[in-house]
């Protein structure tokens, strides 16, 4: 969402800059009775020929309303935090993606486990790592141990429950 916002802001800024400059130029040339770079006769005819009750107007207005609602919901819902607080006292935070990658590497290093993915969320002041991996279901305890060890190495606080979901490896047909 953060990257999408950044890109959207860049597009909005460019549109404002280019659109504003063109509007200013066009209006200034009109004031001076000079030939203008944009021919606005088509727009003028379209706006003069469209009534408020036309389906086009309703479609555009409904689209704007829905787009606005979608953007509003996207902005107001809770975002996944970029970093996780490791300690209340010394202001130490760990970058969430880095922690997830490290935990995934630790889980993948367990024998019999392949392709581990880890997501870390904060619930009620505690970290909740969620591990998804392909491998032997008997390796659950070892994965939990590996994740605990890695979190300890990263000086992270003791996590709450570690949620491990192991999918058995698909056998070749």
């Amino acid at each position: 969402m953060r990257s999408a916002n950044r890109v959207a802001s860049l597009l909005l800024a460019s549109a404002l800059l280019i659109g504003g400059a063109m509007l200013a130029l066009q209006a200034l040339l009109l004031t001076l009775d000079r030939p203008t770079p944009l021919d606005t006769a088509g727009w003028f005819d379209a706006l003069s020929g469209t009534r408020w009750r036309d389906p086009t107007v309703q479609t555009v207005a409904g689209g704007a309303l829905l787009l606005g609602l979608a953007i509003l919901v996207a902005q107001l819902r809770r975002w996944t935090p970029v970093r996780l607080r490791a300690d209340e006292r010394d202001g130490w935070y760990l970058h969430r993606r880095c922690v997830e990658r490290r935990l995934a590497d630790a889980a993948s290093a367990v024998p019999g486990v392949r392709r581990a993915r880890v997501r870390v969320r904060r619930r009620g002041g505690q970290w909740r790592p969620r591990v998804r991996a392909t491998g032997d279901p008997a390796a659950r305890a070892e994965i939990e141990f590996a994740v605990h060890q890695e979190l300890h190495r990263l000086t992270a606080p003791r996590p709450g429950r570690i949620d491990v979901r192991l999918l058995p490896r698909r056998r070749p047909a």
Partner: protein, 186 residues
């Protein structure tokens, strides 16, 4: 611009879109008092009034366009500059005897970066000082190598901040350290 700034900007844009969309939809459905759904979007009366007001109407449009362009340019500049509010300039301390000690803020930040990167576990460090000079807010980002002992680096950062506070006589009001750790596998 910060993430919070973007969030605020797009919340305002969303509210504007909702307001405009809802008003146009209400006018189109005849639910807006005073608006006739059978009327054209650009009525002849409006066009006449625009023409009568020339050249002031076109001049007003030119000014509005210039303001839009200026807003876009400011937004682009802020986008390119990144999060603002960095403390630039000098920290000034009155001495016990006549005289003052002055220190450039970016020199202090560079000194702390050098101190932080003195530990082999710290690959890169970035320091930003914000807030009022006697008790600035200290924002640190450290990139740690894959094999760095996190506890040792944490202690090193804490010691570096203590040294910074002692040297500059500036006890940070707020300390914020974000650590990024490289993946253990290449």
């Amino acid at each position: 611009m910060t993430n919070a700034g973007h969030r605020l900007l797009w919340t305002i844009v969303a509210l504007l879109l909702i307001a405009v969309g809802a008003a146009a939809l209400a006018a189109s459905l005849g639910a807006l008092p005073g608006a006739d759904p059978a009327a054209v979007l650009l009525s002849a009366d409006l066009v006449d009034r625009w023409r009568m007001a020339a050249p002031w109407s076109t001049l007003a449009a030119a000014v509005a366009g210039a303001l839009f362009a200026l807003a876009g340019q400011r937004l682009l500049v802020r986008e390119a500059r990144g999060p603002g509010g960095t403390l630039r300039g000098t920290l000034s301390h009155p001495g016990r005897r006549p005289g003052r000690t002055r220190l450039a803020a970016d020199v202090l930040a560079d000194a702390l970066v050098r101190d932080l990167t003195g530990n082999p576990g710290v690959r890169r460090a970035r320091v930003v000082l914000t807030g009022p000079p006697p008790h600035p807010d200290l924002w640190i980002r450290v990139d740690l190598t894959a094999d760095a002992p996190a506890a040792g680096v944490r202690e090193h950062v804490r010691a570096a901040v203590r040294r910074f506070a002692a040297t500059t006589d500036c006890q940070p009001a707020h300390l914020d350290v974000t650590a990024r750790i490289e993946p253990s596998r290449p």
